[in-house]
Amino acid sequence: MSIFQREREIITRNEFVDNFDFIEIEEFIKSADKNLFISHHFKYSNKMLVQPRGGFPTYEKVFKLYEEFLQAGVDVLPLTIDSNTRLNDYATAGKMLALSEEDDVDMLNGYPLINHGYRTTRKMMTHFNKPVSLRHGTPDARLLVEMALASGIFEIEGGPITYLLPYSKNFPLDKAFLYWKYVEKLCALYSTYNEPINRESFGPLSATLQPPVIVIVIQLIEMLLSLEEGVKSFSVSFSQSGSMIQDIVTANVLMKMAHRYATEFGYGDADIHLVYHQWMGAFPYNKEYSDALITASTVIASMVKADKIITKTRNEAFGIPTKEANARAVASVQYTLKTLKGLPVVKDEEEEEHLETMVKDIMEAVFNDSADTLWRKVFNSIKNGIIEIPFSPHIINANEVITARDPDGNIRIYERGKLPISDRCFEYEKSQIKIEKGSSVVEKIIKDIGIML
């Protein structure tokens, strides 16, 4: 038995897991319907795929949610995991699930997949026969991903950085890298059985004034770490910034660099897709404005030529959306995609060059770290602030970079911290930010966070 298989045996055996049958799972994946694989749809569909977010504690509620989504014309189903499971606290998740089942009140903000198990969950996935995307935010997702793949969920979101820096306070970063290496290996292994398993990075990060350069660097790194382990289908992603042109520039640079680095590192055969997240920051408390925000965001997703869009709902500011609100957003986004025609191809060569230069500067600095493997170089780079994300709750994050918006809504770097970007680039960035006289930077930032309110 390989070391990896030995590790798998250990991971999948604990008091919350009921007998993991690897042979049966392999058989299942080998004979699974192609429709369950998003990688298959990416290949053959010529429209932007629409995927909502959503998850409820109980099986029945998720089932009803999926029925509602299907009626609304969904392309990709989501399975969002609750926060306790994300933190591997299966005991609490189990307790809350029991309470939710008893009282018909949701005591969890997502689906506790471990507690439900793959045998139960797979019934639902094969019943609906749609590609499903696992959304979690878990630094140690080894068991979760085993469970997901065994259930017929063939897209796995996340990554060692994107599911750690925004989602955790003190989970050790080096552990996260190793745990995700396991996930990548697993996805690579299962990709050899049937259509490839798709891995997707989580570009929105903390969804709060994230500068594109950081988003892109992190997307590229997680892509490379994944392709290194043999993954063949990967989605880079980012979320609406608040400026249409910045989104376009980000998409153009991100896709260009993703292809370039993939080829350079010898993974030219992998498929790379672009995912756009509708506005991930604070939503307005007015549902009609939220509808408008969702549509405007759909138009921008079309401008950036995303392969998949992940939707929000008119309930975002209030709480976990009802299934009706969620399905409504899907139907509305599909309507907009269907009726929106004649999209121009937009470029901004100067801004793209500027952004590309900054991305290269940081990537170079990472590659130049003296460690032996890519993940260790990245680990060191985060530790010493060469990479950091604004508004991360994590203790390892440098918290020195400060960003704010220019008058066009573009997110610019106000303090660069230890980001290794050139003085020229930094001066350009900083000079774009205009702070009104008599106003403080903090006031400006609060306004810039609440740009959609």
Binding site: S83, D106, P166, S168, A317, G319, S392, P393, V442
Partner: protein, 137 residues
Amino acid sequence: MRVVTGVVGNDVHVVANRLIEISLKERGFDVYNLGVNTYLEEFLDALIETDAELLLISSLNGEAEGWCRNLKALKSKYNFRSNPLFVIGGNLGVGEMDPDALIPKFKAYGFDLVYHQKDLNESLDEVEEVLKQRIEV
């Protein structure tokens, strides 16, 4: 005046927490910010350690109830010198909740003031008002 603040439970929403720290400092408080992912026990320990007059808990991810239902029992085990004001705010329920049902529920758990989806600054004005009255009494 001292205040202990932070985000309760398995909740990593840090943005409000950062802004609350700034607001409280601007209002002249001595702020002890425990950050996100803080358990109830840690908050109460910090009250004991700091003798703070105010505990200001945030919860955003909808799981407040699960994390706070034992507050009363827990409180009884501590011996507060400062008789602190217990305040919770943010987004206190999963999904859309009837605020009229939520507020009595959290008061029954042992909070003095409860703010569900309320404006931060208006709420802090109110909190300060109540603190002032307490001291005057």
